[in-house]
Amino acid sequence: MNSAFLDFSLTDIAKALRRREVSAVDLVEASLSRIEAYDPGLKSFITVFEAQARQVAEASSTLLDAGHDLGPLHGIPIALKDNIAVKHSRTTAGSKILRDWMPAEDATVTARLRQAGAILIGKTNMHEFAWGGTSANPHYGSVRNPWDRERFAAGSSGGSAVAVAARFCYAAMGTDTGGSIRLPSAVNGTVGIRPTYGRVSNHGIVPLAWSMDTVGPMTRTVEDCALMLGVVAGFDRADPASASCSCADYLRGLKDCVRNLRIGVIPGYFFHHLQAAVYSSLKSALATFTELGAQIVEIPMPDIEGNISAQLTVEAAEPSAYHQRYLRERPEDYGDDVRTLLEVGELLLATHYIQAQRYRAMLRAAFLDAFGKVDVFICPTLPFTATRVGETTVVIEDGVAEDMLSAIMQFTGIASLTGLPALNVPCGFDADGLPVGMQIIGKPFDEATLFRVGHAYQDATDFHKRSPDLGL
């Protein structure tokens, strides 16, 4: 089996399929072979749809040969995080509690991927119920980072990022409440977008925190990410938070330049308290944008410091409401860390939750006001590179150990609280060869600009072209 095709981007493999240089059957067989060979050491999948994927691949090949092209994802293996419903296939949300749940219908994003011709290759591993940032899962194994298997994959969509980085599939869907698409994308060297809240339907996805939950694609290139978002985005009557405004064509204008783009940075916050490699990678990325003709604009935002507390309060309280019944009936079926966080969330004060929600309104207004002066903000996605598997604290600087959950959300909480879209793009590697990610935050529903900025960066750099050596 020629597995070289697995190194192609989604965009390029779609062209190769239509030129008949490769078939959907070839892609699925290569994908399944690679998963079988390497995933036991990475734990990125909970369920692999071997028989179903082979059947669909045969049908996809037959259809394409007969001139029936279902859409941009025709014949391409795609993975889904295991909190996204797939009809009549188990959807565990990484939990023991939902170990045997077989949804009666597809999530909206699942249905849209199928309609675009995607072949569902499997369901990816994750932090239990998406409530955590490490993807250390006590029920299905800890997801390992393909760049160094002793390092974590971050989370909660760790399996999706690893599946893409390890070339098991061409794209995967993740979910992002406090950073769960962007964080694993950053530490595994992939691209991932948290869309504007309401841009992509959450219908059929096991919730974490209703007021911040989003679902989005994870890929190896920005162009692939734009293509995927175009497939899954759009209004859905089944999701009460779904936005009714029309979607942009995310591929049109993708290759436009970034000359005169105004990039906002928050002095004293965006480049403060970072590991050295993260600092230098982000500074280099901003220098690259400057060379491309963009301008850096400092936007002071004195109230930004409260964002982590607001994030943790909302993200703790809402899941504890969703899980109240299970926490009383089956507490021993949760992993220890998630059970503790759910218990903590039960004990928070209502006034503190409301103050956090008022903080969100203030922060969103501050960012909307700032977007009169800048087009995007750029900051690190997280302040450190992948830590060792199992660690619950992290040292960022000065030898001081910090709580992992608070530290990991230093920058991702901003878009989560404000509902703004944010894109992770690989922007470097540390001395140990671990990826660094930058986060591009944009205006509501302006994902097209994020893709244009990210694509311009990938056009000028080659960080996204490196792949982990799984043979180590």
Partner: protein, 74 residues
């Protein structure tokens, strides 16, 4: 963090009782450790949000996208 705001095991037991939640005594310590830190930070945030400059601010529950709002992409 203000030591006076540390939540001890008895504090966790009382809060859990009010929430009708059984937290076994052997788990109360780890709940107290996290809750103490988060609660202290939440108190600081609540103080900030109680400043008069925020008197007119209403909380976010979910965002409404039914009509175009200020700052939205055109």
């Amino acid at each position: 963090m203000n030591k006076q705001r540390m939540i001890d095991l008895e504090g966790v037991r009382l809060l859990a009782q009010r929430a009708d939640l059984d937290i076994p005594s052997e788990r109360a310590g780890q709940v107290a450790a996290i809750l103490s830190v988060w609660q202290a930070d939440a108190v600081m945030l609540a103080r900030r949000m109680s400043e008069s400059r925020f008197d007119a601010l209403t909380p976010v529950t979910t965002f409404s996208h039914g009509i175009r709002s200020e700052g939205d992409a055109l």
